[in-house]
């Protein structure tokens, strides 16, 4: 079936098979491989993208369901070759380790900040609750979102005994 959608501000028109999910469509048909597959079952959040303002697990959405939708993926976060404030905060706060959850984590954080520019720590935790990260233990990610929203008092936190 022919579908039309806007991804990261660019319009696409493609044939999509009825059985293909949005994740594979984005990766294989559009060549945007920044979005990752972690489980294929909607549990881990690695494939999170923003669809019409809301985060979705793109592995649970059929490509044909995205007909007419406006989508943001990780590739749409930097503008004009410059990292966004959110990305810069992730970098500055060491919120990235292996990087495989990062795209989804950024999209969940982005959707939160779009709606709620000054989220509390609790609101940040709830926003990224569906995104598994096995490396960081989440703390530096939460700090990055606080930093991006101008709420982090001090970066870092390792104490010398």
């Amino acid at each position: 079936m022919k579908i039309k959608l806007t991804v990261n501000g660019k319009k696409y028109e493609r044939d999509a098979s009825e059985s293909k999910n949005l994740l594979h469509f984005i990766r294989e048909d559009l060549g945007l491989t920044g979005t990752k597959e972690g489980c294929g079952a909607g549990e881990c959040g690695a494939c999170t993208v923003i669809m019409d303002g809301k985060t979705v697990n793109s592995c649970l959405v059929l490509a044909v369901e995205a007909d007419g939708a406006t989508i943001q993926t990780v590739e749409g976060e930097a503008k004009n070759g410059k990292l966004s404030k959110l990305q810069t905060a992730f970098k500055a706060n060491h919120a990235v380790q292996c990087g495989f959850c990062t795209a989804g984590m950024l999209m969940s954080s982005r959707a939160l900040l779009n709606k709620n520019p000054k989220p509390t720590v609790d609101e940040i935790k709830h926003a990224i609750e569906g995104n598994f990260c096995r490396c960081t233990g989440y703390t530096q990610i939460i700090e990055a979102v606080q930093d991006a929203s101008g709420q982090l008092k001090k970066r870092g936190g390792l104490k010398r005994a």
Binding site: G40, A41, F90, V96, I128, G130, C135, G156, L158, K159
Partner: protein, 795 residues
Amino acid sequence: MLDTIPSKDLKHIGKPVERDDAIEKLTGQALYTGDLEFAGMLHAKLLRSPYARAKIISIDISKAQKLPGVHAVLTGKDLHYRVGLYLVDKHIMAKHVTRHFGEAVAAVAAETPEIAQKAVDLIKVEYEELTPFLDATKVFDKDVPLVHPDLGRYSYIKEVFTPVPGTNIANHTKLRKGDVEEGFKNADYVFEREYTNPNVQHVPMETHIAIGKWDIGDRITIYTSAQSPFTVRNLFSFSFGISHSNIRVITPYVGGGFGGKAGIGLEPLVCCLSKAAGGRHVKLQATREEEFSLLPCRSGLTYRIKTGVMKNGKILAQKMTMFWDAGAYADYAVNVTRASGFSASGPYEIENAWVDAYSVYTNKPFGTAYRGFGHVEFSWGVERQMNYIADRLSIDPFEFRKINAIKPGSKTMTGEVITDHSGNVTKCMETVAKAINYGKLTATEKARELKTGMKIGKSVVALHKAPAMPSMTGTVVILKLNEDASVTVNHALTEIGMGTYTSLRQIIAEVLRWPVERIKIPIENDTDRDPYDWQTVASKGLLLSGNAAILAAQDLLDKCYDIAAQALRAMKCDLDHDAEKVFVRHKHESFITFKQMSVGYAYPNGNAICGPVVAIGRYIAQGLTNLDKENSQGYPAIDWTFGAHGVITEVNPKTGAFNVIKVASAYDVGRVINEESVRGQAIGGMIQGLGTAMCEGYIYNKDGKLLNPSFTDNKIPTALDLPEEIECFAVETPQVDGPFGARGVGEHSMIAVCGGVGNAIEKAVGADLTHMPIRAEDVWKALQKKLKPVKAKKK
């Protein structure tokens, strides 16, 4: 190395330098193996065993072969190679018999994943189900089924391991120190208990994936998500009898490992499929379910500890028996047995020690390395045992730990003498005790108890670990000076997320006195291009690679000084340098820049000398020995990293539901190289430890079928599971042979978390826990049979 320089004199070391790979990862530009495409690439899918142990009577692949788009169908029958890390016991796919639920039985390579799956569905297998062997503690029972009846014919590393043919014992590690029976005789009290852990999955966010291409002429190219390209190459070469030089292994960005991607995984299978398909690239990505049951997990452990102790709290003797549930293949499990065997007492000195550690083959998914390499599992038993004994001696458990803690002059279980430079576990414990106000409840905590009806408990636990690695583990760092006086580094420690590459950049920049921005270490590794490194495991990367980096940077300066001495007609001893140039110390206007000498220096008339600058640093672990196989005495440890956690929990005394309020952790890292990397490892590992402590673990039915191979039924911690407060401390007792005094801390943060939680729960409500993970229902059950206060019984 360079461990005596005061921190205040260091420009880059100790600072939170940002990660060099962050931009690629934050923009989606980083290419992982799954993001790679090649013209004509095929996709593989697998058929897997539904039984824990079964005879394969027949496999009918005829329909699958006929499906359009299918290029290769293979079964175990077609593949005559064995693979194995220390004990060569595994076929590439099940041959004649399946040994665990989820084992690969047949594989298809086709033009799309969908066609491959369709073909897999057309394969018919006839099995005869056999009685599986599932309980590692029954290893000495008579007439149990043998997982590997041919064990006596397998090749293995004889200097280090001891399989017992005719049994299910893949390795038996023996440790004997002092006289344990005499110790028990002289002890005032003897306590014996048993502690258990299930299999646990690593859960890297990126599942295992490999792309293989086996060219006509037997040249092999592999792209893989692996922790060690060189180990993949070495094991591949051994199994297939193909020269190392004809095997090229490339690791693109790797989405986490945690030990699960050490060794060799899907690589042999994709290469065999490629060969069968005429040399096309074949890609195989494990599904999450396959990650749980096809690929390795952490071994389960049943740990029996018998401790003889004096009234004053000094442990005199300890007998430790470990039944490691290694699953169907030995993989790393035999080495986990060895490494955990020699440190099975935790960071406590045991004068008279006896360990029997058995890796036991069972018909379950097989065990491998997992962050902590056995220490997470045995630490659960050790730390619970310490509290159990302390309570019965009416000594505070923290005081009891301090009495027995390893300190300078102590002898480890293998007979190594601990020195002032080995690290300070007592300081770690004292630091976290202070951070959680150990031993009392604050006014706020008392008010919280009143308000919530929950009971608050606190605990301090301690940990230690040394890298478990061959005695001759070595690495190389090569620096290539570029035209603009930047440096590109060739090095094959794999950056699986831990951040060591950034620390290495800091180390190189510090020695060169250059800005960090001029040092680049490409993330991808390639065995055809990079120099050898053994593995990215064991928390040994920072120490070994860091030292190699120092030596390489010093070599670069040395070579640049040689060029400058010649060009400036000066003695080397009179030269000095800054970030831009080498100059004569007593005549600053006489200099040449690093740019001028980068690819060969040319005099004003055009005459050139010296050629492009390439520097090399090689480092190898020194003074380590293979352990005596009869008593495990010897020198296995290049360094020990010690640490401690202070844990505060609150528990509902009626339901057993609990929350972790605070975890404070301290590690003696020798010297902090990158503050935020240390903190990232500290918190990340601690939360992974909380997962192990609170919710993760394999559940099988009575036939050995894995019941929870998914995130639906096998949760890992999310952001909502974080303790309310997390504090991290670095203790810095320099490691004399560590780079700037540093030692590794990648695995340690995960160790002892479970014991800390269990002990804090017991302190709060008296629930005596011996099995992890600890779920609310486990606490509730323990509360139902709450032990009446038992006085220590004199023998």
